[in-house]
């Protein structure tokens, strides 16, 4: 039994301190995954910590043999989507107050790439190209490139066969490359 599985068994028996092993191992992956959704440090910290807390609460339902991080990632992703939707709703209600404008507003929360990535000449272009992709294409690229998931792990997270992961990732990358070419 590997370290993760042993820690989970201990947690299922009520040993809270064993959970620390999992948190220490995955905290940075979790934080950066949340940062991609929130675009700011405070929310990414809060959501990733909340996801760890919720995962601990649900640890008894964890089926041994599964990958802990892909299971945890689904909890984190749902929390981040809820957070994103709440911000979106809030920005819609604010824009409703201003009845002088009739034009369609973009109510998506603005996430700036400089809050997420270190300084890089391609940072803004890449981020804007990613945001022009369909949500499912953007997600699969982010899972592979920025969350560092293997094909097998992506298959587990989005619940599709590995073959579909490969073809979906390939087409998403093709679209991204085309967009980058147009933008440069």
């Amino acid at each position: 039994m590997d370290e993760d599985q042993q820690a989970i068994v201990d947690c299922q028996m009520g040993k809270t301190e064993s959970y620390r092993i999992l948190v220490e191992k995955y905290k940075s992956q979790a934080y950066y995954a949340a940062l991609l959704y929130t675009g700011n440090r405070e929310d990414a910290l809060d959501l990733s910590q909340e996801a760890f807390y919720r995962a601990f609460r649900a640890i008894k339902s964890f089926k041994l043999g599964r990958n802990f991080y892909t299971w945890f990632y689904q909890i984190l992703k749902n929390l981040c989507i809820n957070h994103y939707n709440r911000i979106k709703k809030r920005s819609i209600s604010f824009s409703d107050i201003d009845d002088t404008s009739n034009f369609e507003r973009d109510t998506s929360p603005i996430i700036k790439p400089d809050e997420i990535f270190e300084d890089h000449e391609m940072r803004t272009v890449l981020w804007s190209a990613l945001n022009r992709l369909k949500e499912e294409d953007k997600e699969i690229i982010m899972l592979k490139e920025f969350n560092g998931f293997s094909y097998k792990e992506i298959a587990e997270v989005i619940n599709i066969p590995i073959g579909s992961v490969m073809s979906r990732l390939y087409y998403a990358r093709q679209k991204l490359a085309k967009l980058l070419e147009e933008m440069l």
Partner: protein
Amino acid sequence: MSLPDFSSTDMNIKIMAFIDKELSTKDMLEIKKLIDREKLYRDKYNELMKLKEVTSDMKFKKLPDMYWDEYWHHIYNRIERGISWILISIGAIIVIFFALWGFVNELITDQQLNPILKIGILILLLGAIILLISVIREKLMVRRLDKYREVER
């Protein structure tokens, strides 16, 4: 040596998996040989590699160490608070149950109260209890059946 019988998309996907190091050792060697030998595959390899380099070059903004040092403590505090809420809830349920029990007992034994009013109060209480149980049961059923329950619609 003839080219493997892959449609061009299949081959391109294999090249992508080669770049991602997601193939078996045998397949990695085979694809490497093909890339070295065939210009068509080499071009595809270079094209995919260019994109890979762009994304791999992106580095996340570092979080100051003090946040990492405190990280576990924040989670531990949430776990501790969660446990205290569970205990508070159990305590509150027990206290409310006993208060209700005492109230109903007193109501039944009170000789001065009009019997019709007694029946009215008891029916009201019964209705409230059934309503509460129904809401709790519905919440639990939704929790068990709806796999997207964590996502707010």
